[in-house]
Symmetry: C2
Subunit: 594 residues, 2 copies
């Protein structure tokens, strides 16, 4: 049987009684030498059985070896249990005994004992599995998702879901019990926010009118502050319709927090305390306060606003060095205003990446969009690979080098180097984001870097009115090992300033937000908050390859539930109360008759 099942859940609370309200006397992970001689009743799944001699019974807590009776008087018990297929659910009552000397299994918490079955009952027989549970992990993810209820029986998913539940409970204790936060539920049937192109629509019974499933409780949490709630939190279900994107889910969960009369440092200290309080002991301690880096520094040093600080290979400016050399295309680049050449130094790059040169070139080609030059090494920069940043004076251009840095790290690790300690957790605050960014489709117009409710940096308030492109915001991101796990800001609480941002800077119709603007006029307190992406955070803590591994019933990357087959066709009659009809694409006309 799978040895991984011998592990127990370190985070299980000693206080918890798993046997209350049920007839079992013990779980399958509980029995020890101290129980020898007791009559016990266990319920579980047959994990394994051997030649009518013994079987291994499994439940969520562990495994217990059951010895089948061999005497004539109990022949029906032996027959019953021997004939039950693997993964059948059974009740076994029997006496706890010491295992014969030499047969103890020290890797198994219950490895000192076995239970001699006296009576048994097959509660539900299992039909032949389409695969063996223990091999499940090797199966295609589609198959695992189709039979999710079987996958959930694996140690790994049980562990992930139980740890998730435990961490969230600890977060609640910290927020609610220790710091006076109020858990308030906010609506998920609301209306479109401006620019809410990624919001699912829900047709109502009023012709032409739709609810929208919000991407976050942003408006509601601000209104709760206006309502004097003072400290709000919610484990909030959020929705985002992004079509097909890898490792995104159409519904996801965030730890949503908002406070009145708080500044950026207040929120940061709160979150550091929160994470320290809920952090699972088995992952080692985390140190607070977390380091902080400005957006500008992050882009300059790491080429990204979510730097993975577990390893170096920072971006360095080699313009001054190169200026001395007579390389024509480099000199060309440097002759532009603000022209620079930047590089990352890859430790043992020549030794380790010689074979990968073609790969890294491919990375360069892809990330520099053909603006790269071939990889080469300078003797003064041993083991280095030099690549130019695009010469536009925008820090954003560093992202190409940032991508190269991460790709190189992957390649180095594939070559056997340990760059990033898999047990290390590097939290980082990234601060001082710009308030606005040029719109991708039309760079002469501005859009909010995060959302229009973000307050300007206290030092940049006058810039908001004079030169908004230069204004920094009071937005902060929380980064863990190179992934964004949270983000928040101090919000605008002045109606006048909010109206200016919406109408004058963003050129948006503020009418759809009139309720919020009006609320700000009725004594809205200064406030700010943050949201932590729970799925991502948990997946990093348990080192899962995907957030799908920390969600009980995830959707496929196309947004489908492969177990229940959702979304699905509905009849025209079912659409009628909602006053909608399907506009079939030409190729699919007639399909509605299916």
């Amino acid at each position: 049987f799978t040895p991984i099942w011998c592990m127990s859940f370190c985070f299980s609370l000693a206080l918890s009684n798993f046997n209350s309200f049920v007839i079992r006397t013990n779980t399958c992970g509980e029995l020890r030498s101290a129980h020898v001689g007791q009559e016990v009743t266990l319920y579980g799944w047959i994990q394994y059985q051997r030649q009518g001699l013994f079987l291994v019974l499994r439940d969520f807590q562990g495994l217990t070896q059951i010895i089948l009776p061999q005497d004539e008087a109990h022949s029906h018990v032996k027959k019953l249990l021997s004939n039950a297929p693997v993964e059948s659910v059974v009740r076994v009552t029997g006496i706890v005994s010491s295992r014969p000397p030499g047969q103890e299994n020290p890797k198994m918490p219950t490895g000192d004992i076995e239970v001699k079955a006296e009576t048994a009952e097959i509660l539900n027989s299992c039909k032949k599995l389409p695969f063996e549970i223990k091999d499940f992990i090797k199966k295609s993810e589609a198959l695992r998702m189709q039979y999710r209820y079987l996958d959930l029986r694996s140690f790994q998913l049980q562990y992930n879901l139980r740890l998730r539940s435990h961490i969230v409970m600890r977060m609640r204790e910290y927020l609610c019990n220790l710091h006076g936060f109020v858990d308030v539920e906010t609506p998920t049937l609301f209306k479109r926010t401006p620019g809410g192109a990624k919001e699912f629509l829900v047709p109502s019974r009023e012709a032409g009118k739709f609810y929208s499933l919000p991407q976050s409780p942003q408006q509601f949490k601000q209104l709760l502050m206006v309502g004097g709630l003072d400290r709000y939190f919610q484990v909030a279900r959020c929705y985002r319709d992004e079509g097909s994107r890898p490792d995104r889910q159409p519904e996801f969960t965030q730890i949503d927090i908002e406070m009145s009369f708080v500044d950026q440092a207040g929120i940061q200290r709160l979150i550091e305390g929160l994470l320290q309080y809920c952090w699972p002991e088995e992952r080692g301690p985390i140190v607070t306060p977390f380091p902080s880096m400005t957006y500008k520094e992050a882009l300059a040093d790491y080429g990204t606003d979510k730097p993975d600080t577990r390893f170096g290979m920072k971006i360095v400016d080699i313009s001054d060095f190169l200026r001395r050399l007579d390389i024509q295309f480099v000199q060309n680049a440097l002759s532009y205003p603000h022209g620079t050449v930047k590089a990352i130094c890859i430790p043992q790059g020549v030794k380790c990446l010689r074979q990968q040169c073609i790969t890294t070139d491919a990375v360069c080609d892809a990330t520099f969009m053909k603006h790269s030059f071939p990889g080469w090494c300078l003797s003064d920069f041993p083991d280095s690979k030099i690549a130019p940043s695009h010469y536009l004076p925008s820090l954003l251009q560093c992202s190409a080098l940032g991508n190269l840095r991460l790709e190189s790290a992957d390649l180095l690790e594939a070559a056997g180097l340990v760059l990033r300690d898999p047990t290390a957790f590097h939290f980082l605050w990234v601060v001082d984001f710009p308030l606005f960014l040029p719109k991708e489709e039309n760079p002469t117009e501005l859009e909010s870097a995060h959302h229009p409710f973000t307050a300007p940096h206290p030092s940049d308030t006058s810039l908001l009115y004079s030169d908004p492109t230069k204004a920094r915001s009071q937005h902060y991101d929380l980064v863990l090992n190179g992934s964004e796990v949270g983000g928040g800001s101090i919000r605008i609480h002045s109606a006048e300033q909010q109206r200016f941002v919406l109408e004058k800077v963003l050129k948006e119709d503020s009418e759809v937000l009139s309720h919020l603007l009006e609320a700000l006029e009725f004594g809205a307190p200064p406030h700010g908050g943050i949201a932590l992406g729970l799925d991502r955070l948990i997946s990093l803590i348990v080192d899962a390859p995907s957030i799908r591994d920390v969600i009980a019933f995830p959707k496929s990357f196309r947004g489908r539930d492969l177990m229940g087959n959702a979304p699905d066709y509905v009849t025209p009659e079912e659409l009628e109360p909602y006053h909608i009809q399907v506009s079939w694409p030409l190729a699919e006309r007639g399909k509605e008759k299916l």
Copy 2:
């Protein structure tokens, strides 16, 4: 100022620190004589102010009296605070002082002290309110909902939301920490369940395919049991599209629970323990175990399956008494097979309800659908009102008398009698429901009394196959003071039995549930559960007239958000990715151009 604000929240945890991470030194409900001499910084709303002498500052925790400085050196502070409109948000820093002798306010927790302001800051001014906050309760509910963020500042809503948060936290502690339950989030984007006519639809980007917002996590929680989770709970958001119905919400919350290897008594004891654990001290103790009553008894004695057992006036059978009298239409009724005449005895009915005779007659007319006879009194039944049950031999007909019983109770209480102690909480289990009921639209066909996953009563398993109409179920309802606050059942865990119910009894296409049927074949454990209606439960605990009073942002009874104006129109372009278009009712064509 409103005296109700002088109350404090009894359930506030002594451990909670409301001043962490912010600059204030204290909340407005905290200061006592012990603080005299300290310099404090408070943040809050101006509740009231008087002639430049003092003002009352309010936050979520209470009120503090602030004395404005009268000396020349502080004239700017006086001016600032005197000119700030009511409900403006201010910071005040000053020294805590004892109130002058005789000016203490014993009704106010901070009534022994006042704060002498030294510096102050207007953080946000409040424009003229459309009404006074303290009179809010008298305003129309539509106005209160439009300005919900102002209504939230009232003591009552703060109290309701904070108590709700506290009760849910206690529930989590009980389930998660004490009894090993796992908090698992289940999807809200799923697909239609058979007969799910009340499920909102969510169009997907695949033409013609829709998600559905589930009415409960029923399928998922059962699948979690198949997945070996053993003990699941979730504070689950649920959706139900019922159009306009008073005191229903399109989205609501239930405490959703499922356990493996449990029987009905196990779930009942769990819930009793849960409610006892989370019950607010200030509402007095509740006694467990809760009394239990069969569905048959409930209908016979109270004419409803959710009896309000806080008062008597049970239904009695007076057929034998009436058989002796020569009243023709009564004799007619009694001559039918199973013909009976039933009555309720209304204490002091003649005295109290003489004036209301017309009203009760109206009730009779309405509830008996014109089958009633005029109310009259018999000398042998002093103070009684006699009304016949419909003569069909179905217990359901008792519902008319059940309604009359409740209406009469209302009338008696309006007349000054105290029938139902407003501080009493009468919990009751109603059990042994029928498994199936005749369909209303076609009584020869059967439908599930609750849902198709409900297991038959252990004594009635064979009836399921021989005469399903007679089979009782393992469904149980939890009733509090005449309102259903929970319901659950032991579920079918045999695939064969589940298929029989779906295909043979309910004549439904089991294909849409094929994933569940298949799951039952793979070693599904016996399991059962319950769901508590959180909104209703909290509203009963705080004695709120509507569940809207315990929800931060409720919808109107037409399902509208009156603050943000949802649902709302969207453009045809926004519908395009979802391959739907609006079918405008004829009368509204052209409206889409608006």
